[in-house]
């Protein structure tokens, strides 16, 4: 990925290079196989779902059937609303908190930072029983905010942005201050623009994480109006409308489609974002 022109002297060479290339391709094909199998099944009539015949006719009927059999349109709307809500809240809350940690010396800052980092270990994903109770008390069960609330303050986001804000030269900050800009203005005009790649990286990670999240939404929702795609897919594929695998795999590809498509189009950004977000 790096545009380094120098070839490492330890690049595999000769026979070894051939062997490694073959091995790498073998593993890649093995890795792609389950997905390719699903794609085959979804795009062919069900009588070909387990029979491999290059002459088999292609069809979109499975997708149409899946789309008609369950309210996937509504699920899509719900999931988009969910990831948007989470992302916007995370950006706002994490930016403010990260700014405080990066540029303010205030009493209890270390303790507060420790309390934030605790969430990296004791994450909402395992506190399902108590969080369900809290949602019941708040009276928001079975709603999109109920799915989002435990995740809007993200320790990961605070940590990532704090590291980034710390690298902003103080001179920029002070120059803006001399010109009479207030703290929030400086945050918005100096820090946030400089951290744009990190926001993109964090955004991609957050969206794909919450698009895919399943257990908590499963617990906290029980109607079509609030269910995200993942839960809708599970209910669709585990109901007893006869196991037609062609339709189930079509539905499966449908629900992961937008993310998958975005990934295939913007591979480089995705991979680099995951890298950036991971190497703290």
């Amino acid at each position: 990925m790096s545009a380094d022109a120098r070839l490492s002297p330890f690049e595999p060479a000769g026979i070894g290079r051939w062997l490694e290339t073959i091995a790498a391709w073998a593993l890649a094909i093995l890795w792609a196989l389950p997905l390719l199998y699903a794609v085959w099944t979804a795009f062919h009539p069900s009588e070909f779902s387990t029979r491999f015949d290059l002459g088999a006719p292609l069809t979109l009927q499975n997708f149409a059937n899946a789309w008609d059999a369950a309210p996937f349109a509504r699920y899509f709307v719900n999931t988009v609303a969910l990831v948007t809500l989470i992302l916007v809240c995370q950006f706002v809350l994490c930016t403010l908190a990260a700014y405080a940690f990066a540029r303010y010396r205030f009493a209890g800052a270390d303790l507060a930072f420790f309390l934030v980092l605790m969430q990296l270990m004791v994450m909402p994903d395992i506190l399902i029983v108590e969080n369900y109770r809290t949602m019941a008390r708040l009276g928001v069960l079975d709603s999109i905010p109920a799915i989002a609330l435990p995740y809007v303050a993200s320790a990961f986001g605070v940590f990532l942005l704090r590291q980034t804000f710390k690298t902003v030269p103080r001179e920029l900050d002070e120059a803006a201050r001399v010109e009479g800009a207030g703290s929030l203005r400086i945050l918005l005009r100096v820090y946030v623009p400089l951290a744009r790649p990190i926001y993109l990286a964090y955004g991609l990670v957050s969206v794909s994480h919450h698009w895919n999240n399943f257990l908590w939404p499963l617990i906290v929702t029980n109607s079509v109006e609030s269910r995200p795609l993942t839960v809708g897919l599970q209910i669709f594929s585990s109901s007893d409308q006869g196991i037609d695998w062609s339709i189930i795999t079509a539905a499966t590809l449908l629900t992961s489609g937008p993310l998958l498509l975005a990934f295939l189009l913007f591979q480089r950004q995705f991979v680099q974002s995951f890298m950036r977000a991971g190497i703290r």
Binding site: L27, M121, L127, N131, P150, A153, L233, Q234, V271
Partner: protein, 291 residues
Amino acid sequence: MRRIDAHVHGWLLLLPAMAFLALFTHWPAVATLVDSFYSTPRGSRPARFVGADNYAVMLDDPVFWQSVANNLWFAVGTIPVSIALAMLMALWVNDRLAGRAWLRVAFFTPTILPMIAVANIWLFFYTPQYGLLEQVTGLFGLPSHNWLGSRDTALACVILVAIWKEAGFFMIFYLAALQQIPPSLAEAAALEGASRACYLRRVVLPLLMPTTMFVLINAVINSFRLVDHIIVMTRGGPDNVTSLLLFYVYEVGFKFWDTAYAAALTMVLVVVLALVALGQYLFLERRTHYQ
């Protein structure tokens, strides 16, 4: 800026995030501990203090112990293999092998898919008689086998799915680490006449250690945090051989509605994750070069 101002501003900026963290992370963690010492309120009977009763029940609960054992086997089965594969994938993608962009896509794509979609795809893959696996084993004349329905193979099947999903994710971090190794190191090693194997073992592997540590911690956390595939593929069965700890918490809490016992079970998870955190902290104390 005056000093008092700095304190007030700092806390004001922090307040919104802290409020949500307190409400949905700190409070539930404390409430879980408290509730684990009470009985489950049922109908007109309110919760009452029962001391360590829930924990006593837990110690006598064979399903709990089986879930612990399953979870450990799941971790042992998933983590080393996915880390080794991730390293191998990263080395291959980093070397300029033919078609490496395609290799990268093939390895990384499972990471983007929702675990539940992955589970559905593999469910089909494992289906008795129709699934691809059955067709392949059928070609070799092997008898038909219910991979997910059999006590002997169910956990292994689930482990395989987790490896498939995670190896590509970990590959990314190794790839990043490999790209940060200065080319001069390889040149120096070449001058010394080192072989490729020697260079990989003596130079690359040690430099990848911090990444391995980071990946390892993430992998351990994931093995206790992710149970989506269990819910879709096996529901803990057959005979609880694929019940992981969090799945058991889910069953006890939301199938049997025994919230007090579920709280006690959750505490086990909290302790496990706290131990991981402690291990990470001790490790980072020794090696501070990775920030």
